[in-house]
């Protein structure tokens, strides 16, 4: 008997990719997909504990007014849950410690990084050690990029993926680690799951293939368990062939490449007991 996969897509305060992220979970095989407004968690109407796959969608939490996802991270750290002693962040840590999966895309990735959930070296989920900041170009851009998946990475989401093509849509996507030691840890443990690359998969620092100047061309990172993953490109924006910018001139499979990331997560959850 297969286990039920319950996905939650968390919205509110400026997220805007929740519908397609939920749809991605659905077509990738999740049994239950709930789009849940943050206020429902804060009011205790919904509990993170009831789910096994947390999706943090893209958007502009609080307008990214204090820097991407900064005010959003502040809310996660300091919001209380009505009727409970716990803070929202405590629930989040419990979710992580239960070995459940979290995927953060774009603003969701920025949120994870600023909370410290990624890369969380040595399992320290409370201290920010990297950041995502303004693109070198100084501007928001929407463009498709090639991504090389690191086959040595423990990342569950990128399993069996070699090269992907996905859109980025951000103004603050430049990945910067706090120092060389952190970068070393990320490299050594293969936490860099995705890198901006040329079409042939060679990682690149060249604009616009590397759209933001990210250090080591890093587009996505995971934690040491590979169960927490964040990336700047949008897998939920490539679910169908017609999303591809050149679908009218290339022969492409019906299913978009982004689905694989969600399917990997869901298949993994189905294989485990939480």
């Amino acid at each position: 008997m297969s286990r039920k996969v319950k996905a939650i897509v968390l919205t509110g305060n400026g997220t805007n990719c929740e519908v397609e992220m939920a749809y991605a979970c659905k077509i990738a095989g999740a049994d239950i997909v709930d789009i849940v407004h943050l206020s429902e968690l804060i009011y205790g109407e919904k509990r993170l504990a009831d789910y096994s796959f947390l999706n943090l969608p893209g958007g502009f939490l609080d307008g990214d007014d204090l820097g991407s996802a900064k005010a959003g991270a502040n809310r996660f750290l300091h919001a209380r849950i009505a009727g409970h002693k716990e803070m929202l962040f405590d629930d989040l840590l419990k979710f992580i410690n239960a070995g459940k999966l979290i995927l953060g895309v774009c603003n969701g990735f920025q949120l994870m990084v600023k909370l410290g959930l990624l890369p969380a070296i040595n399992g320290n989920y409370r201290e920010q050690s990297t950041t995502l900041t303004f693109n070198d170009s100084g501007r928001f851009e929407d463009r498709w990029v090639y991504l090389k998946a690191n086959e040595q990475s423990p990342c569950i989401f990128t399993r069996n993926i070699h090269i992907m093509y996905l859109p980025i849509r951000h103004g603050e996507g430049k990945f910067i680690p706090k120092n060389v030691a952190i970068l070393k840890q990320i490299t050594k443990n293969n936490l860099f799951a995705l890198q901006y690359s040329r079409p042939n998969g060679l990682p690149t620092m060249e604009y616009p293939a590397n759209p933001n100047g990210a250090i080591k061309a890093i587009a996505g990172i995971c934690n040491e368990t590979g169960r927490l993953f964040g990336l700047m490109p949008h897998p939920e924006a490539y679910l169908h062939r017609t999303n591809h910018p050149r679908w009218t001139r290339e022969s492409l499979p019906e299913e978009g490449q982004g689905v694989k990331i969600f399917r990997n997560a869901i298949d993994f959850i189905r294989s485990k007991d939480f």
């Binding site: 400026g14 805007n16 990719c17 007014d65 900064k70 920010q128 910018p245």
Partner: protein
């Protein structure tokens, strides 16, 4: 006492904003600048302790990986000039608001009941040996808009490195007690009435003032007023409310005027252009469509509604925000986009927003002449508007899928900023139709979303006038997309739960307009303005009623459901306030603290405005015909054409808009081999599990107005339709929106050529009627902006009359959609439609500084035949690529098709179906309407030609894989032979900043 927290980048961390600013200073002023660094400043009021300040700074305000902070001392060290820019009092400070909320949450327990305020500003540290004058110029012409921002310029040797800049709080300080002014109109002389209208920025004419005067002298009026404690004097609340409701902006007085139109064939009378031509054409089309009529709600609501399929409806509206964008391009455009978002959102029961469109008309960003007073440089307007729409669209999570930028130096006085938004709603919800509105007496009136401030007061009347010396600063608002997003998230939940009965937006005219219009559904209302939540104290009752502060919706709620509505609002952190109730009293009844301050008959308020009587005289202009000789080679000429602002690539703007959020993107604005070719139209899938698509496109060609606005309008409609057809739209399921932007067409001392301009308007309307009925494409909504002039002193600048015609429609299966890029070598290249000697108003003539007279004429009957055939060919999968021919004609469409596909072409001009003087340049660059460039796989040739039979088309060559673009002229010699890369480069360069 206030504290300053400064946040800057650590040494060695790239400052992208600083670098961008440096580049702009160099580009705009040609000044040598070594480096610019930026510092964010948070000025916090509320007596936070040192530890609390530190906690705030180290927490939400600063990114510890790349930034550092200081408290009450400056971060600035090395610089030559320091420029600090902050908001003026009362101007929306979105970042300040977010910072305040973040600090409140962070210090929740410690703050207890203490209130704090946060104000933001930004420092630019400039390393450059420039003069104080240059530094001042940088501050006021680039970094700060003095209308809404204040700035300080400080030289290194003037700076106090120990203490920095003292904290400054831009607080609105108003001790004003709420007062209602009474004005005695009885016996007021004409000049007094005019003076009153001008002095209060009412924008009412003498006849209108006299109508008000007369109404207030009526016995019935006086007696009714007495009963509610009012004298016979009109209150300022009433006068302002009438001026807003009767404004050109809200009442469309010119479109509804009685016009006597004269041309060489005699005179006709028109009782309302709107009724006769626009409503008239739609009614005729709907009747002809019979049971295939897809219109659901036209001209009655905030936006038009059509059927998408049996289960869903499409909602679409396009607005302009020209006058505010002239004064504050960023805020004006941002408000334009988040403002038009609320139109479909406030239509029927409310629609989810699925895409934005934007079309801008600017003067050249390379404008070199001296600027008249109060006019910002076009480059600055361009950048500001672009950024405003970027923030408005991207932060709202609505993809910006279609648009264009049109250049003409007459847009110097007022830029045009068209913003459109489409919505999507289930056809039925909780058992009710969603596209209609119903309100019952005793329903409660609730305002939700943002608070009311002094922003946007007189917006409606201000945009009903030309930009002049006294144009009010208060008319400018700055939108807050996140407050709006939170509100729309909340309202969609409330909608789905059936918690409200009706919804409308607060745009121009604020509550006066939203409640005034809603009250017509039941016949009256009663509100108390003292209940309205304010951003700061000191607003007068009339200001509360008229304020156009953003992000607000007004709702009618069944009293039995109000509790649930308010609970949900609180939970989702959105403010909602009961202001009063709807009634059937026939009165627009406004109180302030239970005392009546306005008591107007609904019928007088909405139908009392006297109809304008206007004359229009048409005399076709006679422009000089240019004389220049034909060239033997067009390699350079085509590159020059491609580099023209109206033709060149707009990629740098398009890339900065999120055009694929919501994941339904099928045809993006950029397409082709390198994702950079110019798409003709956009297609999205609003339902991710369905292959049914929405098509959106537009047409705009103001240059043709210099010859005849009839043809300008016909060409705009045709361009919109053929753009939609080019990607595969179903022509039987297309609806249109007309957005008129005109220069003042009312004859007066200021406008001695008003009768001609009005004739231009009449002719444009005639074309709307003729072509929409010929194509069977009904207008479902639209808007007019009639005073796009600038007049200060002797300088008057009027825009060329401009119509934006937008179409929205459907494609049954997006898998059949076609893009404009050539696909394969050996594909055949066709020109569909006849090319005529129609270069009047063309880009080719404009390149020769001429207008000419032979404007493109649209032949509707042959055009619609082509469109139907092409639609069939596309549905049958016979078309590899299809591109519309418009600005720059055939040559431009061909080379765009080639370089977007990274392929060459071999073409023969003698194969082009053409009538006129046999000149290569005329064939290359004529802008005849209703034409396409189509490429077809050789195996599809027979099938394609069978379907196209009976239409005028020519097979003019083939696609090649040698990257060369070759065209043989009429005499058999090559007139163009060049690498496609060369043309692409010319096309990409001009606006790549």
């Amino acid at each position: 006492m206030a504290d300053r927290i400064e946040v800057g980048f650590k040494k060695g961390i790239r400052d992208a904003l600083g670098e961008k600013t440096r580049k702009r200073i160099i580009d705009n002023f040609s000044l040598p600048v070594e480096e610019v660094r930026s510092i964010e400043i948070y000025t916090i009021e509320g007596n936070l302790s040192k530890d609390e300040l530190k906690e705030a700074a180290a927490g939400p305000l600063c990114d510890p990986i790349i930034q550092h902070y200081s408290i009450n001392k400056p971060l600035a060290t090395e610089f030559d000039w320091l420029i600090e820019v902050g908001f003026r009092p009362g101007v929306t400070d979105n970042v300040g608001k977010t910072a305040r909320e973040a600090i409140e949450l962070l210090l929740h327990n410690k703050l207890a009941s203490r209130k704090i305020s946060v104000y933001t500003s930004r420092q630019y540290l400039i390393n450059s040996k420039i003069t104080k004058k240059d530094a001042e110029r940088i501050a006021s012409d680039l970094l700060a808009n003095d209308l809404i921002e204040r700035h300080q310029v400080i030289a290194r040797n003037e700076f106090n490195f120990a203490k920095g800049i003292p904290a400054y709080i831009p607080e609105v300080l108003s001790q004003d007690k709420p007062v209602v002014e009474e004005i005695n109109l009885a016996g007021a002389a004409d000049n007094h009435l005019i003076e009153l209208s001008r002095g209060k920025l009412l924008a009412l004419n003498l006849q209108e003032m006299k109508t008000i005067q007369k109404h207030f002298l009526k016995k019935a009026t006086i007696e009714a007023r007495k009963k509610v404690g009012l004298t016979s004097n009109i209150t300022d609340v009433e006068l302002e409310c009438l001026a807003q409701t009767w404004s050109e902006h809200c009442k469309h007085k010119i479109f509804n005027s009685f016009i006597t139109y004269t041309d060489s064939q005699g005179a006709i009378t028109i009782d309302s252009l709107f009724k006769k031509y626009i409503k008239g054409s739609t009614a005729k089309i709907r009747k002809a469509k019979g049971k295939n009529d897809f219109c659901l709600s036209v001209f009655v609501d905030n936006a038009g509604v059509i059927k998408f399929n049996d289960d869903y409806n499409l909602v679409f509206k396009v607005e302009t925000h020209n006058s505010p964008s002239a004064l504050d391009p960023y805020g004006g455009a941002l408000t334009g986009i988040v403002g038009v978002n609320r139109d479909p959102f406030g239509t029927g029961i409310g629609a989810k927003l699925i895409f934005n469109t934007d079309v801008f008309c600017f003067a050249s960003p390379y404008y070199k002449k001296k600027l008249p007073p109060r006019i910002l440089h076009p480059r600055r307007i361009y950048e500001g508007v672009r950024e405003g729409v970027e923030h408005g669209g991207n932060k709202s999570g609505i993809p910006t899928v279609n648009g264009s930028i049109v250049f003409d130096d007459r847009f110097l006085g007022k830029p045009l900023v068209y913003c459109g938004t489409a919505g999507f709603m289930p056809a039925r919800l909780n058992g009710q139709l969603t596209h209609t509105k119903e309100i019952k007496p005793d329903d409660l009136i609730i305002m939700t979303g943002g608070r009311i401030g002094k922003d946007g007061i007189h917006g409606a009347t201000f945009s009903s006038e030309e930009l002049h010396e006294g144009s009010p600063v208060s008319a400018v608002q700055i939108g807050d997309p996140i407050t709006q997003k939170k509100m729309t998230d909340f309202l969609l939940v409330a909608r789905n739960r059936g918690l409200y009965r009706a919804i409308t937006d607060n745009g121009a005219g604020g509550l006066s307009s939203s409640i005034g219009e809603m009250a017509t559904y039941c016949g009256g209302c009663e509100i108390d303005l003292a209940k309205a939540p304010l951003k700061y104290p000191g607003l007068q009752p009339w200001e509360i009623l008229l304020s156009e502060a953003q992000e607000r919706m007004t709702l009618a709620i069944d009293p039995r459901k109000v509790k649930y509505f308010l609970q949900l609002a609180k939970k989702m952190d959105v403010e909602a306030t009961i202001l009063g109730k709807f009634t059937a009293s026939g009165k627009f009844h406004v109180c302030y603290n239970r005392k009546t301050v306005a008591y107007l008959d609904m019928s007088f308020l909405h139908d009392g405005v006297p109809q304008l009587q206007l004359n229009a005289k048409w005399k076709a202009p006679k422009n000089n015909e240019p004389r220049f000789t034909e060239l033997t080679n067009y390699n350079n000429a085509l590159q020059q054409m491609l580099a023209r602002l109206n033709i060149c690539s707009k990629e740098s703007v398009v890339r900065q808009y999120d055009h694929e959020v919501q994941a339904g993107s099928v045809i993006k604005p950029l397409t082709g081999s390198a994702n950079d070719g110019p798409s003709d139209a956009a297609i999205i899938r609003p339902l991710l599990d369905s292959m049914e698509g929405v098509v959106v496109a537009h047409g705009i060609c103001p240059r043709y107005s210099d010859i005849d606005t009839y043809d300008m309008t016909a060409c705009a409609i045709d361009e919109a339709v053929r753009n939609a057809v080019a990607v595969g739209a179903d022509i039987d399921h297309l609806a249109g929106l007309d957005n008129f932007c005109w220069c003042d067409p009312v004859q007066s001392e200021k406008t001695p050529d008003g009768e001609y301009k009005l004739a231009q308007l009449v002719r444009s309307n005639m074309a709307i009627y003729d072509y929409t009925t010929a194509y069977g494409i009904p207008c479902i909504s639209g808007k007019d902006s009639m005073k796009n002039d600038y007049q200060i002193g002797k300088t008057k600048i009027s825009i060329p009359p401009t119509i934006l015609y937008s179409v929205i429609g459907k494609i049954k299966d997006v898998n059949k959609a076609v893009t404009m890029d050539a696909k394969c070598a050996h594909d055949l290249v066709y020109i569909i439609g006849e090319t005529k000697e129609e270069l009047g108003g063309s880009e080719w003539f404009a390149l020769h500084n001429a207008i000419g007279n032979a404007v493109p004429k649209v032949k509707a009957a042959s055009a619609i035949k082509i469109y139907r055939a092409l639609q069939r060919a596309i549905e049958n999968g016979l078309v590899a690529s299809c591109h519309d021919c418009s600005d720059g004609g055939l040559a431009v469409a061909l080379i765009e098709t080639a370089f977007a596909g990274a392929l060459g072409m071999n073409l023969d001009l003698s194969k082009v179906p053409y009538s006129g003087t046999r000149r290569n340049d005329y064939i290359l660059f004529s802008e005849s309407a209703s034409r396409f460039i189509v490429t077809v796989h050789p195996l599809a040739k027979v099938g394609f030609e069978r379907i196209m039979k009976g239409n005028n088309y020519g097979m003019i060559g083939e696609v090649t894989d040698d990257s060369l673009f070759n065209i043989k002229g009429l005499d058999g010699h090559f007139i163009i032979k060049e690498k496609i890369a060369k043309f692409k480069e010319a096309w990409q360069k001009p606006l790549n900043f």
